[in-house]
């Protein structure tokens, strides 16, 4: 009785946890784990009145460039942070086969400093130059970084085979089980024949 009750309580806890998790899912959010996480390519570089970091998710197709602004060390507390007016991101292949294309970055809500994000096209894998131009009432400047652009799915067409492999594994398991079942029923039949004779 006590054991049964304890088991029920445990299941109730599991169900409660599942319900909580479902509650956390109640509204749609971007599929965070299924896009590559961005990589920091510039860390805390001084550009005009800002300390700037640049993060990129350099996937072939549409890549992302995040530009993070902070106030330099030594700025007294209480001095308001002046958000840049415009941030533009230029990308060009290092080989020079294409001219630089410029893209406006849009501001994102953050708790301190400022953050801008730009969607930029990378038509091919390889090394690309990323140039960030910042303007604002307190000043601005430019910085350049180099990024290695790679396809989002590194496996290529082999991915088809990879994603088909679970079905092959289940089919193999199924056929192994079927063979064992045939062998078992054959043995039963043989036993029955022996018994009847």
């Amino acid at each position: 009785m006590t054991v049964r009750r304890a088991v029920r309580v445990r299941w109730t806890t599991v169900l409660a946890c599942a319900a909580l998790a479902c509650a956390a899912l109640a509204w749609p959010r971007p599929a965070l784990a299924h896009h590559g996480a961005p990589v920091r390519v510039v860390a805390d570089r001084r550009v005009g009145p800002y300390v700037v970091s640049v993060w990129t998710a350099p996937d072939v197709g549409m890549g992302m460039v995040y530009v993070v602004y902070d106030a330099p060390a030594g700025v007294p507390a209480g001095v308001p942070f002046v958000v840049p007016t415009t941030v533009r991101v230029g990308v060009a292949p290092a080989s020079g086969r294409l001219p630089e294309s410029l893209h406006d970055a849009r501001s994102e809500a953050v708790r301190h400093g400022a953050r801008f994000v730009a969607h930029v096209p990378f038509d091919r894998a390889g090394v690309w130059r990323v140039r960030v131009a910042t303007t604002g009432p307190s000043g601005g400047g430019e910085l350049t970084a180099w990024v290695d652009v790679a396809p989002a799915g590194a496996m290529g067409p082999a991915g088809i085979l990879f994603y088909a492999s679970p079905f092959l594994a289940v089919a193999a398991l199924w056929s192994r089980a079927a063979a064992a079942r045939r062998r078992a029923s054959g043995t039963l039949r043989a036993r029955a024949t022996l018994a009847s004779s």
């Binding site: 998790a21 959010r29 299924h34 991915g159 079905f167 064992a180």
Partner: protein, 184 residues
């Protein structure tokens, strides 16, 4: 007076085989979606951001949202936990290996959700990141997680279908190939 078996007991007893079949169907449906995505990209040459599998053709917002992916992680976790008691011996060890890997996978998803809810990201990242993404920062991470959960699941099912004599004596379900015969 004998009490009726609980749901958990039934799921790990006479319903175990059917429950495992349903669970495997869910797992394979998820893989089928990824297979469809791979076909859309590499055979149909659709842009990667438009290749959302079959479900995504009708519900693109669902495939692009964390809801579906985190929901699947939770379903996997609950399924692995609910059905564990039916496994014994080697099958149990492999099944629990799949469970613990999936448990960590779920923690990673929860970390991502937590950063969104808290409005602060780990490691000063401009987007929420999981711990494993620091080592494998690309989309392949999701595929790796699914694989390393799936492989021990299949091994567990193999040992469950074809148990040793000693293992079969401890089983309470009808999943083994033939309950009256030893299958080596």
């Amino acid at each position: 007076m004998a009490t009726a078996p609980s749901l958990a007991e039934r799921l790990n007893g006479r319903w175990h085989e059917r429950a495992l079949q349903v669970f495997m169907a869910v797992v394979l449906a998820h893989w089928a979606e990824h297979l469809a995505q791979a076909l859309q990209v590499y055979v149909l040459h659709w842009p990667a951001e438009e290749a959302r599998g079959v479900l995504g053709l009708w519900f693109p917002w669902l495939v692009d949202s964390e809801t579906l992916h985190y929901g699947y992680a939770v379903v996997m976790l609950v399924g692995l936990w609910l059905l564990r008691a039916g496994f014994v011996g080697r099958a149990r060890a492999w099944w629990m290996a799949a469970f613990w890997i999936q448990f960590w996978h779920h923690i990673e998803h929860a970390l991502l959700q937590g950063q969104v809810i808290a409005g602060r990201n780990l490691f000063d990242s401009p987007v929420p990141v999981s711990l494993a993404q620091l080592v494998i920062p690309r989309i392949e991470l999701h595929m790796i997680y699914n694989t390393i959960v799936f492989v021990p699941m299949i091994v567990a099912m193999y040992h469950h279908l074809l148990p040793t004599e000693a293992e079969r004596e401890r089983m309470h379900c009808g999943c083994a190939i033939h309950p009256d015969l030893t299958v080596a």
